[in-house]
Amino acid sequence: MRVKARFTALSAAAALLALTMTACGSGSGTENAGVEGETGTDDVTVSVGTFNEFGYEELFTEYEELNPNVTIEHKKAATSNEARDNLTTRLAAGSGLSDIEAIEVDWLPELLEFPDQFADLSDPAVEGRWLDWKTAAATTEDGQLIGYGTDAGPQGVCYRADLFEKAGLPSDRESVAAMLDGSWQDYFDAGKEFVAASDGVAWFDSAGATYQGMINQVQNAYEDNDGNVIATENADVKDIYEQILQASVTDGLSAHLTQWEDDWVASFQSDAFATKLCPGWMLGVIEGNAEGVEGWDIADVFPGGGGNWGGSYLTVPTQGANQAEAKKLAEWLTAPEQQIKAFESKGTFPSQVEALESEELTSQTNAFFNDAPTGEILANRATAVEVTPFKGPKYFAINDAMQQALTRVDVDKTDDPASSWEKFVTAVGAL
């Protein structure tokens, strides 16, 4: 009897420990309130939630001086993952968000499913402020704009001039840009030439990272415009999959690394590869990982046309109490003049058309990258972006499955391209 009682107690304790997963759900969103109300009169506190470095600290002080009735409360999350967890949890709970919430471009597909949760920020005053693809990515089918663009991630090609030279390839910026200009096949062909003469140095770091640059140039990669999953039947996807694995494994151009893993970080110190696709914010990552390594440079070119990777927006959640003031502040923060100041402070590359043409931006150079005119190069790269890939609600789950498929072949070597593709089809079927 005693045994039994204790046993029940233990089961209960197990229950407590086993299932602490709380599920909170709000009723589906209320009506879209829009943004109403006066601004600039009553004393208000506007809270702003950001992550990493947006470069806003001094701008907040400036805004408070311009608008004495406004006090800004800044909540800064250490990582974007932390901010994303916070955002989704509090959206689900229906309260607790800041008046302005910063979001990353990657979260847009899932947030655009719930436009009721965000104020419509479209406004004649801001029309044409951003690059077209930047605004398009945050606009619903009905024309509701859920976020103001902050920074962007236009991509160039970073390369090791010293390793190029050793392998007998042209190494100055202009010649490299000319050599890599064209299709992805041209990029891989140059790679074959390099690898043949490089004594073990690979052409690029990772199949997955390079694939990312390629797939972002496809308009409807995984889903059609109605959100139907087409990933496994889409010939473009299969072609890119086969092309990148051919280059990575058969032709041996890849260093067989997974982006962000410890081996990848360490590889910057060991001359493991010679080129890497790099958005503006990647420059800082390379500089940090490759500390003490000389020879990095950046070419004003991107295979297959332009490409964007990352960048953020400011949104105004409808659960906030000060939506009018919040919108006003978000509008001010994302104006070209302010974004340039943020760029100077923390290197967040602007997505605003006017900012891209400004002298302050185009005159920027980067000492680590052999004094390359990074401001000008990235501005050129931003205007070269032509395709805004459609990203539906399942985009990221499918893309994760694809990245795993590539890793299985390129890094783990547990599968060949055909069997890994089969597993990818199974994984997509399970979504």
Partner: protein, 329 residues
């Protein structure tokens, strides 16, 4: 309840001083009180835990069951009632069964060596050492390091190309282990992190229990001619029975819910490109937060709960049998 045994019935009141009404009333009142005081107060004293448990344990448990019967989006909330559809779907997924296998593999690779090692370490610490407190505190140091920090350190050691372990292996002419590709190797690496963290903690629990064993039992054993080893197996281990049950059950619950160490084992946190080390809790995470499908995530959570209850039962019966071998006291 031991408490009730000790409480005496209220002493028969001696001579009442009827002259003062007040005291009579009070006495009459206090006369009545002890009866339900004795009956109720023990439960009242332990009620905060159970009330709290009802709110933080029972309610989520029931609510998760409710969620698992619906199609439910993380942000959008409740959808249509779907009955057992989520369970059917999840049980038909190869990823689910893969996660079950991985969870058990990692659990066994961590719990078994952990308990054995912890008892061995406790036995050593129980001996007359110099600077006893230092050694005893020393084994607890890994426990105060945050799991994610442990993950960072071990990831560095277990990196496939640049990791210390593989460099050592290649240094002595062996093939490097493919920690992030080979399923069993990844489980061993994750179990190492878990063992690093929990072995010392369990050793201290065993040590406390060992010190509670009366020394005269050992003296008697010595007189009977039992050596140290015989004493350890015939006296120490059987006397540790309740503690072993406790440690095994907490290790089971923790082991089956393993998440942190496995999640930080690579950057993507989904358990490897071929799901080599995706555990059940990581699968819940993937369904709930990755795919935002709370219905399916809740179904897996409930299945995990049932598995844990089953294993805890089996555990209890087995440990009881083993521990009673030495004769029940």
């Amino acid at each position: 309840m031991a408490v009730t045994d000790r409480v005496q019935p209220p002493p028969p009141t001696t001579k009442q001083q009827t002259s003062r009404d007040k005291s009579v009333k009070r006495l009459a009142f206090s006369h009545k009180v002890p009866k339900w005081d004795v009956k109720l107060s023990p439960y009242l004293y332990i009620s905060p835990f159970f009330l709290l448990f009802a709110v933080t344990g029972l309610f989520p448990l029931a609510y998760t069951a409710w969620v698992s019967l619906h199609s439910w989006n993380l942000i959008g909330g409740k959808g249509a009632f779907t009955g057992l559809e989520n369970y059917e779907f999840v049980l038909a997924q190869p990823f689910f069964w893969n996660a079950v296998g991985n969870t058990f593999s990692i659990f066994l690779l961590s719990s078994v060596p952990q308990v054995v090692l912890a008892i061995a370490i406790a036995a050593v610490l129980d001996a007359n050492l110099r600077a006893r407190t230092f050694w005893r505190m020393g084994v607890l140091v890994p426990f105060v390091v945050a799991p994610v920090a442990v993950g960072l350190i071990f990831n560095n050691l277990f990196a496939d190309q640049a990791g210390l372990f593989n460099e050592m292996l290649t240094g002595i002419g062996l093939d490097p282990v493919r920690w992030h590709s080979d399923s069993l190797a990844s489980h061993a690496a994750i179990a190492t992190m878990v063992n690093f963290r929990w072995t010392g903690y369990n050793a201290l629990i065993f040590l406390a229990a060992m010190q509670a064993i009366p020394r005269d039992v050992y003296e008697a054993a010595t007189i009977d001619g039992a050596g140290r080893l015989r004493q350890f197996f015939s006296v120490t281990v059987p006397m540790l029975r309740p503690t072993i049950i406790f440690v095994v059950i907490t290790a089971t619950i923790g082991g089956l819910q393993i998440f942190d160490e496995a999640r930080v084992f690579d950057q993507a946190g989904l358990g490897g490109a071929d799901r080599q080390w995706q555990t059940l809790t990581m699968y819940i995470w993937e369904l709930g937060w990755g795919q935002r499908n709370f219905g399916r995530a809740s179904a897996v959570a409930w299945l995990l709960f049932l598995i844990i209850v089953l294993i805890a039962m089996a555990n209890f019966l087995i440990t009881r049998r083993i521990a009673t071998q030495g004769g029940r006291r």
